[in-house]
Amino acid sequence: MHRLRSIKERSARWFMRIIAYCSILFLIIIGIALFVKAFPAIKNNGLWELLTSARWRPSGGKFGFLPFIISTLYVSAIAIAIALPLSLLTAIYLNSYASKGIRRFFAPVIDLLSGIPPVIYGVWGTITIVPFIANYIAPHFSGQSSGYSVMAGGIVLAVMIIPLLVGLLVEIFNSIPKEMTDASFSLGATKLQTVKRVILRRSLPGIVAVTVLSVSRAFGETMAVLMVCGNSTLMPHSLLDACYPIPALIANNYGEMLSIPGYESALMLAAFLLFVIVFLFNGISRLTLNHLEKRFHF
């Protein structure tokens, strides 16, 4: 009886330990596997050439990623520019101004927004944002745009990262000890002064970390962006041009990538690049956030 108990205990422990080590290994395996797959492309074309050339002719063996890299940066920048101010204002409101009732009402709103699948955001974008840009915004500028554009991608992406940003920002603001804001109030500071000089100041590293985290989310978002950004392999020159971010490129070409030599490897390189960037961005911001969490909870 005693023996059986300790055997059970020991085998459970071993099973769990193996899973724990495997899960750490998994991260490394993904990186290595993608790199191995991407290696032929790097060997044939040279990494520098791949990253800086704008010529994309898979059938001719030309894989210049520059338009896709620029598209990714462009779309993500717009998304952050829209989402960050909205999220910051909302998070400050929820932390320092809103009543309990409003806070309780807001929690499911954020949950639902973050739960909506990318493909639904894509449908919504195609039905509303794309025609709006084509019919109302484009005519004021260059004139011709299908609406499937950098701007559409940026707007849809912004809506998608807002719940992530608001959720994390509220958490950061809530981790500020009440004694600290009380100290500011008891010196006669107004709420706005306390927000500006104490809350934001204290949270600055956290805000940066959260922004980096959502940038990396924006970099990797595929389906929704794919559905509204137009997917042109040409370099985008304005907000109203079509563009082609890296994830969309991978998703759109899976069908033919096995039939053209070198294509698969080039697309795997794209996936590898995404992985590395996300790894670094996530790693840095998570470390920052963990560090802050440790320092702030006492």
């Binding site: 422990r13 991260l27 807001f106 954020i110 493909v119 449908v123």
Partner: protein
Amino acid sequence: MKKAEENIFKVFMIIAALIIIGLLLFILGTIILKGVPALSWNMITKLPGGGFYLGREGGVLNAIVGSLYVIAGAVAISIVISLPLVMYINFYLPHKSPLAGIVRFSFDILLGVPSIVYGAFGFALMIFLGMRASLAGGIITVAMLITPIMMRSFDEATKLMPRDLPDSLLSLGSTKYEMIKVIMRQLMPGFVTAALLATGRGIGDAATVLFTAGYTDNLPGSLSQPAATLPLSIFFQLGSPVAEVQNRAYASALILTFLILILSFAARYFSSKFSRNRL
């Protein structure tokens, strides 16, 4: 002067909050308005008939069933991995163990890896193993996507649990394995919330199954056959030039949104039973 500044700031904050609520309503409203007229009983009970993609008879039962198969398999795999893992790092490893820190950190990173990267990795893995796009491939890849979500969310819930019960069980002479069997009951709501969150995320994701699960108009008969999924069926139908097919994409989007809403509310219900409000 100070007062005016304060008020202007307040107005901006309230506008921002209203915009966010407005966006949610706008998105749900759009999907409902466009989806309801195209929704019919046939949509959810019939397979695509001949000429379905030209606007004739049929429904998206293949995608609904396919998605349920994929997510059921993925959640099962994900539970088998995350449940023991969470127990291990919370109850077996000492408090503040570096291994637990590294596991949490790697899952935080995995949580941020985009689904398209999992899709590409899954695809590479399948080529390596000589598999073709199939239900099994979809299940494995979606499991990669949702395991970090389930693991981290369950882990957070477990960390919040008071340590009195585990400690008293141990002091009664239970082994840790026996202790876990007892406290699982307490951890159940947190666990269910985590599983529902992961389900919602997995069932709606298209980029993972795009390469790996394939697409078919039939129901998948075995793990090695391709399986259709709801997000992909929306994507393909929306790409059609035929208006009827596009309308069916809206109806399919409504079906998916409805599924997600149910999962989301269920998750909220369980987590509110369990812990204090997160916001």
